[in-house]
């Protein structure tokens, strides 16, 4: 059920990296008879730490290269310098206000675009008539890279908030629409028939059968849309903005503040990871019933 997703959307949630690592490491294991509780606990600890090994190693090497002078700070500042910039900007309040404005843009754009995509996907999933009317137009617009609209958007909205909201909403709309539509269409018709036999009203059928059945696919859409949300915002803020993380980075470039530029990039990475983790948490909570997910 969870592996159903359209081409172009994220693959099933079960193929993310930690699981893949877990799968491969269990194969080169000790024979089952020798495995004690201790080794099992140790293995769990190792598996918990595995995702952090690579990032920590990278940062250590980076720091080493910087301190030994292999890496000039004009090219790439050291992690320590970036951390310093972090605390400096935190102190002035600049950092918090920029993160806040970026997060606000991202979330409101996501709410508008994702909400519209969900509603339209849900309507078209149910009604063949509505699908006939709107689907082919949506597919056409979907194939325009939404970032190509930036010049047009600047002419329309200038560099105000509307421009960013519009772009984020547009980018987020399509993955939500597609996955909701697909999710609803792939609900087991046997369950819908059962709902009818048991006298469920149209609304009850929707609430108890169709939406929960489409939820795995909708959640994949949310994860994918979150990725697009940050990507769009980064580009929009870099091209045209007077506040936000992207603006902070572009402004720092004017003054060659390399540490602030790198800090902005790291912030984007962390925010992206954070939203993905939240989506995964939702998946775990809402799809508890799914045996292929609950085993994790």
């Amino acid at each position: 059920m969870s592996s159903k997703s359209l081409p172009g959307s994220l693959s099933a949630p079960s193929v993310d990296t930690p699981t893949a690592q877990r799968g491969s490491s269990s194969r080169l294991s000790i024979p089952a008879t020798v495995r004690t509780d201790d080794t099992r606990r140790w293995r769990r600890l190792v598996h918990g730490l595995l995702p952090f090994v690579l990032p920590v190693l990278l940062i250590a090497v980076w720091q080493l290269l910087s301190t030994t002078g292999w890496l000039a700070s004009q090219i790439l500042p050291s992690p320590a310098q970036v951390l310093e910039a972090f605390f400096r900007l935190l102190g002035t309040g600049e950092l918090i206000s920029n993160i806040a404005i970026s997060a606000q843009r991202a979330l409101s754009g996501f709410a508008i675009g994702g909400g519209l995509g969900f509603i339209l996907g849900a309507i078209n999933g149910i009604s063949r008539l509505s699908e006939k009317i709107s689907d082919s137009s949506i597919q056409m617009i979907r194939n325009i890279p939404h970032l190509a609209l930036i010049p047009l958007v600047i002419v329309w909205f200038g560099i105000g908030e509307e421009a960013k909201l519009f772009l984020v909403a547009l980018g987020v709309f399509f993955p939500m629409y597609l996955n909701t539509f697909h999710g609803i269409r792939s609900v087991d018709p046997g369950l819908i028939e059962m709902g009818r036999v048991y006298g469920l009203s149209r609304i009850a059928l929707y609430v108890h059968v169709i939406l929960p059945g489409a939820l795995p696919s909708i959640l994949v859409g949310i994860r994918y849309a979150l990725g697009i949300m940050w990507l769009t915002l980064i580009v929009a803020e870099t091209v045209a903005a007077d506040s936000g993380i992207g603006y902070m980075a572009m402004n720092a470039r004017e003054f060659m503040q390399m540490d602030v530029i790198v800090l902005s990039i790291v912030l984007y990475a962390l925010l992206g990871k954070l939203s993905d983790s939240i989506a995964k948490l939702l998946e775990k909570r809402w799809l508890r019933w799914n045996p292929s997910l609950s085993r994790k």
Binding site: M1, G190, L191, E193, M194, G195, R196, V197, Y198, G199, L200, S201, H208, V209, P212, G213, L215, L287, R288, W289, N290, P291, S294
Partner: protein
């Protein structure tokens, strides 16, 4: 168990069904009395499932009519005012939506068709108009799964899932229970257990049951009457006069033979 009344509980008159130009059922006349257990057997593709789906209101007959007695003097069902209200509400919906179920009729499919995202208890509650937890728990007790209330359907065995589906069907105290080969996918042992369970619940709950099956011995084990459908007609209407609980003795074998013989006779000619 068969109670003779003036008006039959379920009356199928001259029912005909065709898909496109292909005629599945030519002319079916059947009367079922309240409380009767009727089994419908036949070769695959003979239209026995289609007939059941038409009784359920899932499909419309191309000709003829199917009449179901009203709930009126029903000593079994606990007709609270809430269920009555629900009943009339559903009736009015029925007029607008011919595809929706008939009131007081429950259908058990070959697969359990439980909602995987609802717990066992919530799946059973789906079958009750007022969604009462107590009634759902009671129904689960009837099928012997009271201790599995909070589990997800995914971890149950096939037989347990079908028992939950049975609880869901019985939870609203239906008058008529329609079974569409519900035991077809189960292993032999679970199957016999389920047959005993269905027989017991039929007696306890005073249900009228129509069972579609391809298994002749299952039909003989459970039914008051066995109908054999062939070439779109009822080819045999046999009353099984064995005592209950039924042993698989010579009498049992006799009825089995009569039906099997009739089935094979047709395939040879």
């Amino acid at each position: 168990m068969a109670v003779t009344e003036q008006k039959p509980f379920l009356q199928i008159q001259g029912v005909q069904k065709q898909f496109g130009t292909r005629v599945i059922l030519e002319h079916i006349d059947v009367e079922v009395q309240r409380g009767e257990f009727v089994a419908i057997v036949g070769r695959s593709g003979c239209g026995k499932s289609t007939l059941l789906r038409m009784i359920a209101g899932l499909e419309q007959p191309s000709g003829g009519q199917i009449e179901l007695a009203q709930r009126s003097a029903d000593p079994v069902a606990t007709t609270s005012s809430a269920t009555l209200r629900q009943y009339t509400r559903k009736r009015s919906k029925l007029a607008r939506q011919p595809q929706t179920a008939r009131p007081n009729t429950r259908f058990l499919f070959q697969e359990a068709r439980l909602l995987p995202w609802k717990t066992v208890l919530d799946n059973v509650r789906l079958g009750i108009p007022d969604k009462s937890r107590e009634h759902a728990g009671e129904a689960l007790r009837l099928v012997g799964l009271a201790d599995r209330e909070k589990e997800w359907p995914a971890i149950l065995s096939g037989g347990q899932r079908q028992r939950v589906a049975l609880a869901r069907a019985l939870a609203s105290h239906p008058d008529l229970l329609l079974l569409d080969e519900p035991l077809g996918a189960l292993d032999a042992l679970t199957r016999i257990e389920m047959q005993k369970l269905i027989e017991r619940l039929w007696i306890e709950q005073g249900l009228t049951v129509v069972l579609v099956t391809h298994d002749v011995s299952e039909a003989v084990a459970l039914a008051d009457r066995v109908l054999l459908i062939e070439e779109g007609h009822v080819a045999l209407d046999l009353r099984i006069t064995l005592d209950r609980p039924r042993e698989r003795d010579s009498g049992f074998a006799h009825f089995e033979n009569v039906i099997l013989h009739r089935l094979l006779q047709y395939s040879e000619s």
